[in-house]
Symmetry: C2
Subunit: 163 residues, 2 copies
């Protein structure tokens, strides 16, 4: 598979994994196709789950980034309202970790990239988190924005270097 | 190599890479050996560079985290005072990216872990950034705090799962 095709396959695998896993856990999630863009376009992020991806000919990071509404919506939905969402709290973060794990696993199973390997998700919390990538070093970034109903923004940011 | 030995080798490789690369670029950096600890112990982080590491039998993330003083000190030192440090700014972030790249590369060359593969550093900026790891899922985390003279705190956080 050529370099750019690989990247497209990765983007598609992860996007479809976010949608299918999200819906299975009960989230009302949709991809804002019109707002898919190159580069990093995220706003008001309080939680990020980073998954390192290493495969033959490609390496990079997949970021699942949540704003506050999405963070709260996801924890309430996945725990059936049993867990009060709290940023940085062990129980709350376990829920986000579990969701990221499921998305990473699903993306690999769905993708046709056989030899790709991933790291466990690394969870980051903070205020106004943003990832910065330098397009000039051969890194390519894409942002896929998802909306949660009734509220919440989930951003899937992929940053990859194709050898 | 047994699982725990591998983790120790990774920790040592990255710690020594931070010190040797740091000194080569002109930083006055020391490891606070007495404060090396298990778990994640970081404070006031504004920038994090995450490197995914995948190898036979181990996978995880290496985090190079900087507080504001360290961020400014590093950019001033590495640019010879030519760059005014600004969080999130492309030029400033390039400097941090370059330093992280050098540390990742050095750690791999120095380590005896032959088959380990890494992702390019993913740079994250924000306020009060903290990574969260769950020790109960087989993830092991270590924090190694470094001091910069005259000021600045650099934290090396390794989170690994040993298969």
């Amino acid at each position: 598979m050529a370099g750019m095709d690989k990247l497209v396959a990765l983007v598609n695998s992860f996007a479809s994994a976010v949608l299918s896993v999200g819906r299975e856990v009960g989230l009302n999630i949709t991809l804002n196709k019109a707002k898919v863009s190159q580069g990093v376009k995220v706003e008001n992020i309080c939680t990020a789950a980073l998954i390192g991806v290493v495969g033959v000919g490609s390496r990079g990071t997949v970021n699942i980034m949540l704003n506050k509404d999405a963070f709260e919506n996801i924890i309430k939905t996945m725990s059936g309202g049993m867990i009060a969402p709290q940023l940085g709290d062990d129980v709350s973060m376990s829920v986000i970790g579990e969701l990221s794990n499921m998305i990473g696993g699903r993306a690999l199973v769905q993708s046709s990239l056989g030899t790709v390997d991933v790291t466990p998700p690394q969870l980051i919390v903070g205020e106004n988190i943003k990832n910065v990538t330098k397009e000039d070093t051969g890194m390519k970034s894409f942002t896929l924005p998802f909306s949660l109903d009734p509220s919440g923004g989930v951003f899937l940011v992929l940053s990859f270097k194709i050898d």
